[in-house]
Amino acid sequence: MDYVAHDASAYAPPAEVEEMELYHPKTFVGKYIWSQDAKIIAVQYAVTAIGIGLVALVLSWLMRLQLAFPNSFSFIDPSNYLQFVTQHGMIMVIYLLTALFLGGFGNYLIPLMVGARDMVFPYVNMVSYWVYLSAVLLLIASFFVPGGPTGAGWTLYPPQAILQGTPGATWGIILMLVSLALFIVGFTMGGLNYVVTVLQARTRGMTLMRMPLTIWGIFTATILALLAFPALLVSAIMMLLDATLGTSFFMPAIVSMGQQGGHAGGSPVLFQHLFWFFGHPEVYIVALPAFGIVSDLISVHARKNIFGYRMMVWAIVAIGGLSFVVWAHHMYVSGMNPYFGFFFATTTLIIAVPTAIKVYNWILTLWHGNIRLTVPMMFAIGFIFTFINGGLTGLFLGNVTVDVPLSDTMFVVAHFHMVMAIAPILVVFGAIYHWYPKITGRMLNDSLGKIHFWVTFVGSYAIYYPMHYLGFAGVPRRYYAIEGTNFIPESAQSLNVAITVAALIVGAFQVVFLYNLLWSYFRGKPSGGNPWNATTLEWQTPDTPPKHGNFGATLPVVYRWAYDYSVPGAEQDFIPQNVPPGEVTRSSART
């Protein structure tokens, strides 16, 4: 296996590539506020997403307090509780994870990793962020309108979402729907940029199959999002019309609180289909970037090429494709035709195949690797554990017969938090510890990072492991308080208290992370350009943090794939993508 050099004489002469016209701002406002630089936009996205995510974290505390100590808090009534549940879910899934992975990591990493000066449409990219910010502000505004934010559950099922009696049925739901529509418009602008940049702005030598898996993950997730979000947009608009103009797309004729409503003939199940046609790909919109990033973290910190690169790309693409034909597994109890259930159970279980391939490949990459237990690596390994756990309970729920009794219990809550909350968040943390040195030029503090990892990792298990048992015992989700039931043992309450204590601790310890981010920005150890000895292009920039235009006077030329680690015959254990074969230093003792 002689990877080191192919015949140096085979170089093609440099081709004339049109240089990108960059907008060069001169004022502070132009550089950092109305910025058109993808790197700044990325940080804006990330800060906004993490900020609103912290709100959602506090909401989850409030929920947990109520569940552990029912009737002890005067500021939590049943309506508030439902509002906390709803807003926690909506914020975490859409406004935090989707925005952070695609808007944050996508913006920062795509141009740098494919060797571009910026996104292809920087102006549109800027507008994308500001539209996203207005969506977030609208969402926050809904907390302050009469009736408060909507409490219809993050799925916003009609008819109850817009019926009087549901919290926030007058103003809250309308602001929610408008905010979602804005988010989608903003995302579409960003998404067009990500896709076109990956396809059109790669540097010389950067073929699709030489791209790091991070880019494959973000690229495929963006395509999924572009094709799935229209379903949410359509359903949001239709529900908005039902709520304001009295149309009956989703609203059936209903007698509510003794009064005949003004609607007739709508179909609530239609909404469920539209919602989940978006909702299931959404899971993979969050998961695929995480898959990609974790592949790169593992490869870099195990000093080994990723096992089965081609398989990994295919698995990402296959998962992306399959994610569009499984949506109704969220609707097994909606009364649909059993044959549909059979079909969707089958497709759901088929997704386990490419997913398992990915898991095996991560583990095989670790096998015999020169593993460095850095903080990003610990988060990456933590992700593998958590994802396997969450994935396995997914196999349970994917089967109709098992899902029906478990539907709407805490088991479901435990499952999806493991697989699409904790697992991706661990990747987010790992990625921040990994790329922070590039973004700021300083390392994050290692000891604080390790404390943060262990508390978050072990704490998450303390929260969600017991929750599976609550689900088996029949504890339903979304209930404000459970009283007067015979089938739920009293010990469930003690378990609830334990879970809440764990949740409070894990949440509070995120302060360590935030403190680390701030402290290291000013006092952290200078990182140098390539602290992890990684091969990908973002670590080869002339300046750290990279300046406007990313790569100085000339764009890098790529000569190899992204995973030349521990190459036999090479002196160093990594060969950056832009090192020509002729310039690789060979070790004296060739293997």
Binding site: H6, A12, G115, M238, V313
Partner: protein, 218 residues
């Protein structure tokens, strides 16, 4: 190289490295714009596809009451076809360097589009004044929703059209204008196609119903 072939290569193999080194890198901004438009049209196509599917899904219920048909829509369709033809002519002219003809084509396309939108609003009013009008009837709701969404897309197109028209007087960069006209043309043809599908399936006769029956769904 097709996408499928690209996914088959082994980037770590020496021989493949030689081939990969030949990849010249990023293309011009013109191609980027074209690609962006195509991706955007794919998103719009999904949007309308979902609306049609929702319409069909709702139609399968027993209580479906079809909306009355409006003759005016035939005229509107004809006008929209004219706007597409005018843009096609503008594109043909700009490619041959006939700038005056291009200007006429562009302006005519804009005018026809405005007439179409006006006609759609008229259709809305016609339907609203009929005895059949019942806001809770999904067929009627869908008519307003779908024509509204289509109209909004045309209005978005008019913004791009306006920016192009503003640039074609006095001195201008012919290559850039040519590209703008081409992009507008693609967008208009696409929205015409979408309209023809919507009109044909949903708003004239019971064609979607027929199609569903042919497919054995109803």
């Amino acid at each position: 190289m097709s996408m499928f072939h690209q996914l088959m290569v082994k980037p770590w193999v020496t021989d493949q490295g030689k081939i990969d080194d030949l990849y010249a890198g990023g293309a011009s901004s013109g191609l980027a714009k074209k690609l962006a438009l195509k991706v955007f049209l794919a998103v719009v196509a999904v949007l309308f596809m979902l609306l049609v599917i929702a319409y069909g899904g709702r139609m399968a219920y027993e209580d479906w009451r079809p909306a009355p048909q409006l003759r005016l829509l035939w005229a509107n369709t004809f006008v929209l076809i004219l706007s597409s033809v005018a843009l096609q002519w503008a594109q043909y002219s700009v490619r041959r360097g006939q700038m005056d003809a291009m200007r006429v084509g562009l302006l005519a396309a804009g005018a026809f589009t405005v007439v179409f939108l006006f006609g759609q609003v008229l259709a809305w009013r016609q339907l609203g004044a009929m005895v059949y009008f019942d806001v809770t009837n999904p067929a009627i709701g869908f008519f307003y929703l779908i024509t509204g969404v289509h109209g909004l897309h045309l209005m978005g197109g008019l913004v791009a059209w306006g920016r192009t028209v503003a640039k074609v007087w006095g001195d201008f960069d012919v290559t850039k204008i040519r590209q703008s006209v081409e992009l507008c043309t693609v967008y208009w043809h696409f929205l015409l196609l979408v309209w023809l599908v919507l009109f044909g399936l949903l708003f004239t006769g019971n064609n979607l119903d027929l199609l569903l029956k042919l497919c054995g769904i109803r």
